[in-house]
């Protein structure tokens, strides 16, 4: 099935649903200058991302490279202060090797804040002109990648929006797309069931190990998952609570296990392991929802399905975020921010199947160019922190 005839064809063969120009700062010290460069062009598809740290980190370097060469990105402007340790030339080379135009400004060499902003805006105009005539090509379902996350959950999340996304995921996978779920910390208790859904026993064991790692990490950080408030809300067991989040994954077989920046090699359902490997080193695995969204996008997600009960408003740089609202009262209060009213199930105005169909249809409409609510409101949140990962092993991915 062809989703759209007008996807943006990149030199590496991948296809995007947006043609963004990314301005990326390579240390917090270049953030302000980068933001000032972007501001007049934020309605022209120019988006701001960056890494704030000054110390080197292989994970951050891989994330930045995957984000700067994401199919939704047409060109890149890198903003360096000059003395940070980020290897800007390596990143620029990788972007150039992907066939995208890339420019770099080093504030210490460009004459400081004001001059760099002026030069940056001039480069943005040039780059926008250079990416304007990117070739178009049909985007097939098997090339389409969708990620999902939940945030600001409440008692309705696990019974409306999450299983609704699960229905949409089932249909996406059935029709050949790739679907990615994550939040291993919230899957504690689902390991056995999840392992049974893996396409191979080896993968099943790895999925269990990923959840065990999350449990160990959170034990060290002192954050349990099952609280008294959960029981008051009607949740009885750890596995029941986790099942509410797990329901986003639907019922398909699980084809593989990814780490941030790994792109699915073929259609199917994938678990993204977002918890760092090794000893607990840099604090919480993900400090907020956007840290996870950035990782889903680094895995190639064209679109993010974000379920919320209490009402998150965030979007993201690079890929549109679709809000699936679990709670009908939240939807009425915040409808300007919400794309799908999944809470209608609670009021007899829809079923899980009808809501799943709505989510599926809207994912395709957004892929065809319709703006999601957060995208139209110009939400472009972005967070990237320190992590450590070992590469995934051969049992993690399906043979293609």
């Amino acid at each position: 099935m062809i989703i759209t005839e007008h996807a943006y064809l990149r030199s590496d063969g991948r296809k995007g649903i947006r043609n963004h120009l990314v301005v990326a700062y390579l240390v917090e010290c270049a953030h302000h200058v980068a933001r000032e460069i972007v501001y007049p062009y934020r309605e022209s598809g120019v988006e701001l991302i960056g890494f704030g740290g000054c110390y080197p980190n292989a994970y951050a370097a891989k994330m930045m490279q995957q984000l700067c060469t994401h199919p939704n990105v047409g060109g890149v402007l890198l903003l360096s202060l000059g003395c940070e340790s980020f290897k800007r030339t390596e990143l620029a080379d990788a972007v150039a090797a992907s066939g995208r135009p890339v420019e770099t400004l080093v504030i210490q060499q460009s004459g400081g804040t004001r001059k760099t902003i002026e030069q940056g805006r001039a480069l943005v105009q040039q780059l926008l002109a250079r990416i304007a005539d990117v070739p178009r090509a049909p985007l097939e379902m098997r090339e389409f990648i969708v990620g999902t996350i939940c945030g600001g959950s409440d008692a309705t999340s696990g019974i409306t929006a999450n299983p609704g996304v699960g229905r949409a995921f089932d249909r996406l996978v059935r029709e050949g797309a790739s679907a990615i779920f994550e939040e291993t910390s919230e899957l504690i208790g689902c390991e056995a069931i999840m392992a049974e859904r893996a396409v191979t026993p080896e993968l099943g064991a790895l999925l269990g190990t990923a959840v065990a790692k999350a449990a160990a990490y959170h034990r060290v950080l002192g954050h349990g998952s099952f609280a008294t408030g959960n029981a008051e809300g009607g949740l009885t067991t750890q596995e029941e609570k986790s099942m509410g989040a797990y329901a986003k994954s639907g019922a398909s077989r699980i084809s593989g296990l990814l780490k941030p920046g790994d792109v699915p090699p073929a259609g199917g359902l994938y678990l993204l392991d977002v918890v760092p490997d090794g000893e607990v080193r840099f604090g919480f695995p993900n400090i907020n929802d956007n840290a996870e969204i950035a990782e889903l996008i680094a895995c190639g997600s064209h679109v993010i399905l974000f379920t919320t009960g209490r009402g998150s408003v965030v979007g993201s740089a690079i890929s549109p975020v679709i809000k699936v609202c679990a709670n009908p009262e939240t939807y009425r209060r915040m409808s300007d921010d919400m794309d799908v009213d999944a809470g209608k199930i609670l009021e007899g105005r829809g079923t899980l199947d009808s809501v799943g169909g709505e989510i599926f249809d809207l994912s395709l409409a957004v892929a065809r160019g319709e703006k999601s609510k957060s995208e139209a409101l110009m939400h472009q949140e972005f967070v990237l922190t320190y992590k450590t990962f070992e590469p995934i092993g051969p049992s993690c991915l399906p043979r293609v």
Binding site: I159, A205, T236, L352
Partner: protein
Amino acid sequence: MSDSKLLRLDPLDNVLVTIQTLEAGDRVIIEGRQITVPQRLTLGHKLAARDIRTGEKILKYHMPIGSATRDITAGEHVHVHNMKSDYIDTVEMLARHSLGRSP
């Protein structure tokens, strides 16, 4: 046919989820039988969709979320007093998983 105040997340589930607050004394229909709600239950609580025997798995989303610690009759509130977690540690799960699967 069940009540519109209750949601069956999967046809094979043996529990229904309350989708609005039920007050003590409220009546709901479960499998054609009228059940009087014994206590106030806020959104998200579970009622047995049918009789459940001790030790039987509690199925929600067609997935086991624990098992019954005593016999539960249709319409009864299902919670910490009559069901328990079956969650086992991952290390043990992996051992059982590899033992339970034939190569």
